[in-house]
């Protein structure tokens, strides 16, 4: 019984907007890291910029939703350009250092009590019409499922949560299509060329700096889109955008297979399913008395994720959808 419940919970988690948002953020990171070879350790920063750019535009500035979405995208593009100008001409590891720092700067800034009046500080931004602060009402009005309970096979949803799941996964599908169209084009090939050898690309007349900047902006804007999806069904909470989010996204990209079209989606689904299942397993171990019932036992699941990632890198470095042959050429 416990096993079936755990599997059902995993299934529900897969359909949730959080899984979709992580898939989308991972699609953006895959453009950076998988295709272009840019080591962006601050994808959570782009997600945060998207989430705050969107929510603040609606709640604080009172702008219409579509303008708020454009502002979120614009802010992420600007963030990418600001990060890119000083770092893209340098070696790859500098970008890693700067992005991880910049993402933390974003998080500490919105988290700071200094801007409490605007960002809500550590409380974040409430998304509840009855409290006079909400940003998803406009999209909610198109909800065709109503507010009631909806049973979908063994799963029970509220109408609202089903609506958010549908919206977010459709957007993931559309962005995947967009990325596929881009990556089959000669432009997509220049990204992979830059990943392989920038000097060679420059010798062939390619503007390496511009290519890297375009990739950084595109992946960053997709990350911002993920940020909007992530906060739509919930509130904005600054703690979510910590470095762990970035590393979970890297886990997702590597799990699914870097530089593959469906890798980030598959990676996100598996990542969250494993997380839910391992949580259930830990709870069960506590119940039968094998593990001590300490308060943070469920946190042990992230240790299991780390172990799974280490095993993956050793035994299947190309990820699930990646090409083994490609990996065999990586310098050992």
């Amino acid at each position: 019984m416990a096993l079936i419940d755990a599997l059902l919970a995993a299934g529900q988690q897969i359909l949730s907007p959080v899984t979709a948002a992580f898939a989308l953020a991972a699609i953006g990171l895959n453009i950076h890291y998988g295709y272009t070879g840019l080591i962006n350790f601050g994808q959570a920063g782009f997600v945060a910029v998207g989430a705050y750019g969107f929510a603040l535009s609606v709640v604080w500035l009172g702008l219409p939703t579509w303008v708020a979405i454009l502002i979120a995208f614009g802010a992420a593009a600007l963030f990418a350009v600001l990060l890119g100008i000083p770092t893209l001409r340098l070696r790859g590891d500098y970008l890693a250092i700067v992005t991880i720092a910049a993402a933390e700067i974003v998080r500490y800034t919105v988290n700071s009590a200094l801007f409490d009046d605007v960002t809500g500080g550590a409380q974040g931004i409430t998304n509840n019409p009855s409290q006079g602060s909400d940003y998803s009402t406009w999209l909610d009005q198109f909800n065709p499922f109503g507010e009631g309970r909806i049973e979908l096979g063994p799963w029970v949803f509220t109408g609202t949560s089903l609506w958010w799941a549908l919206v977010t996964w459709v957007i993931v599908g559309l962005v995947t299509l967009l990325v596929w169209l881009l990556m089959r084009s000669p432009w997509g090939l220049t990204l992979r060329g830059v990943r392989e050898d920038q000097e060679a690309m420059a010798s062939l007349g390619k503007n390496v700096g511009a290519i890297k900047m375009q990739a950084l902006v595109l992946g960053g804007v997709i990350g911002a889109m993920a940020g909007i999806l992530y906060v739509l069904p919930a509130a904005v909470s600054p703690i979510d955008f910590n470095s762990r989010m970035t590393f979970n996204l890297f886990t997702i990209v590597l799990l699914g297979g870097a530089a593959t079209i469906f890798g980030p989606i598959l990676g996100s689904i598996l990542f969250w399913a494993v997380l839910v299942l391992s949580e259930a397993a830990i709870t069960w171990l506590v119940d039968i008395g094998v593990l001590a019932a300490v308060a943070d036992a469920p946190q042990l699941r992230f240790a299991l994720v780390g172990l799974a990632l280490a095993l993956l890198i050793v035994f299947r470095p190309q990820g699930i959808l990646g090409n083994r042959k490609e990996m065999s050429f990586d310098r050992s």
């Binding site: 084009s185 432009w187 992979r192 392989e196 390619k206």
Partner: protein, 275 residues
């Protein structure tokens, strides 16, 4: 020192090119000319500044001083990808293939295609025709360079010599008017050298001028129409290969007194004097 003879119709003229690293002067070239429609060999001992000069002229390194014109156009200070687009395309001493791309993908990146613009990438009809004509061009080049069987293999799976061939074929995809080859024969199996030489020798007839760095004097004598000798950052002689290479000063100082003697003969001579 030989009197410096200039080429008749240079495609590339550089003057006062200077590059130093700390206190070391790597390049101090008063004037160098590369004749149009010919094959020019750039020779000189290790550390003569040949590669540094290549890097400066192609924008891969910033010269401290100097001006140069390519086909009448001032090129000093131009960023490297613009140098390549202007028609000066270089290869590298240590081959740089794009390993995890196929041979064909490597070739296609040599060409400038409309679909490489982000604004054009989404809609296939906007770039399909141009890409197909580049694929056709690439296939012809791959046949010429005997790489057609490797078309869909990863470039990383090629041998060292095949990589040299691919790099040269890829550079030709960029439609160069001046191809600058940095030691194209280095590390290439002797059986392939002849085929590489044949390819280089064909280029002037296709409107491509060539300048290449080389250490093997037999190679230089075989295909070069013009020779420029560098030493300690300076051009010390230039002219047609016969007289230039025969110049005793060039031979003694920069090529070594035994350059055309069989190595075994030298060893025998030494063993003879030792016993």
């Amino acid at each position: 020192m030989t009197a410096v003879r200039h080429a008749e119709d240079p495609i590339l003229v550089a003057e006062g090119v200077h590059r130093h690293f700390g206190g070391v002067t790597a390049v101090d070239v008063e004037r160098i000319e590369v004749p149009r429609g010919q094959i020019t060999a750039l020779i000189g001992p290790n550390g003569a500044g040949k590669t540094t000069l290549f890097n400066c002229l192609t924008g891969f390194d910033a010269a401290d001083a100097g001006t140069w014109t390519f086909d009448g156009r001032a090129m000093a200070g131009l960023v490297r990808h613009k140098v390549a687009r202007a028609g000066m395309v270089r290869t590298f001493q240590l081959t740089r293939v794009l390993g995890k791309l196929t041979v064909m993908e490597n070739m296609l990146l040599g060409a400038a295609q409309p679909g490489e613009k982000f604004s054009r990438a989404l809609v296939k009809p906007w770039w399909k025709a141009a890409r197909e004509s580049e694929i056709q061009h690439a296939e012809e080049l791959l046949v010429r360079f005997k790489l057609d069987a490797k078309r869909d293999d990863y470039a990383a799976s090629l041998s060292g010599g095949q990589r040299k061939l691919l790099e040269m074929a890829r550079a030709l995809m960029a439609r160069p008017r001046l191809l600058m080859l940095d030691e194209p024969m280095a590390g290439v199996n002797p059986a392939l050298v002849q085929s590489l030489l044949d390819h280089i020798a064909e280029l002037p007839s296709q409107g491509v001028s060539v300048v290449f760095v080389e250490h093997d004097m037999h190679v230089v004598k075989t295909i070069a129409d013009w020779v420029v000798v560098m030493a300690e950052g300076k051009v010390v002689a230039e002219g047609e290969p016969g007289p230039t290479l025969a110049n005793p000063a060039v031979i003694d100082a920069y090529l070594g007194a035994h350059h055309d003697v069989d190595l075994r003969a030298i060893i025998r001579e030494r063993e003879g004097s030792a016993s």
